[in-house]
Symmetry: C2
Subunit: 205 residues, 2 copies
């Protein structure tokens, strides 16, 4: 299946600012992207990176400077109706080929994978009449949009796909579960799992 | 399958202190417990609540004042070796019968469901030689313990089971995904989904 992987190549992962400087955020974001592309490749998907600027990586890249929802909707509108298209976020550092295959193989006109905080971390569209809007609690909006268009909606229940790495408190999930470039990058940068208080966190030494 | 549901009936959900007073925390914790017991019942499980104090609820209650890991290990040690035992946390307000059935039906001497932050939100034990330790990054420790005992380990990948409701930022997940008593309680208490900033949250009006 064709899979779009949106990537902000200009100022990625700004909410990690309290932990990582701009160069580090860029390196770490590219490490996560590489892991996601590897997992998609292993799941048999054909990934294309939808980037805000030119980028070197293991998949074809199309550059689109428009905001995320607009750029994704342009691709949804441009595809033949009978061609499914998936969208998988570039910061799903925990995503394994098994979890991605479960998403891509799940039947439904629209298939959603919830992110924490009401986001939509991944989706599959197999019908016309559905457009994305990633602003706010997008999962709820995407449920309503599928319903309004009379489309069959399915949701996959995946911890891996629900875990986008946006904020400092998310970094520990990469250390605990990712076995690729992203966790290696964090360890090289000095991060370790810190236990002892109420919720385990990643701490830099 | 026999399922233990540990519950702190004395001072539940203390980390929700910034949002809810002690009476509210107790009511909300009992609403989540009721939802978890309903979901377990619908999945065909035989639940017993392992409570730190007497409690009225829809399942049998055994009172054990010892710390969590000690109380659970006492039950693991007391059961016949061939009898599987599951442990499901009482604050998994998003857990559906489908997600719980996937856990209980998954093969393995030890089956783990990861919580965010390295916790173990649910597990199944079908062999002797495994003991729990819920302190710190327990998922990692439970993986090592299963390995050290030479047991077959499996992990289920579930957003629903990964989402324990511990901290104020977790409340929005209940509003977005729970359709039972816990979300009704939050709405009655004035909570609504608030969008508009970087991560969606529950806000009280």
């Amino acid at each position: 299946m064709d899979v779009l992987v949106p990537f902000d190549a200009r100022s990625p992962k700004q909410r990690l600012g309290p932990e990582l400087d701009a160069n580090e955020r860029r390196e770490f974001a590219e490490a996560m992207l590489a892991d996601v592309l590897d997992a998609l490749d292993a799941s048999g998907a054909d990934a294309t990176v939808l980037s805000t600027a030119p980028l070197g990586c293991s998949a074809p890249v199309v550059v689109d400077e428009r905001p995320l929802s607009e750029a994704v909707n342009a691709r949804l509108d441009a595809r033949p109706v009978e061609t499914p298209l998936a969208v998988v976020m570039a910061d799903l550092a925990l995503a394994t080929p098994v979890a991605l295959s479960a998403l891509l193989d799940r039947e439904g006109d629209v298939v959603l994978a919830a992110g924490r905080g009401g986001g939509t971390n991944a989706l599959v569209v197999r019908a016309s009449g559905f457009r994305v809007d990633y602003h706010g609690a997008s999962l709820r909006d995407h449920r309503l949009a599928a319903d309004a268009a009379g489309l069959d909606l399915a949701e996959v229940d995946s911890f891996q796909l629900s875990t986008d790495i946006d904020e400092p408190t998310d970094l520990v999930e990469v250390l605990l579960h990712n076995e690729g470039r992203a966790s290696a990058w964090l360890r090289d940068a000095g991060y370790r799992v810190h236990t002892g208080d109420s919720r385990v966190r990643a701490e830099r030494r």
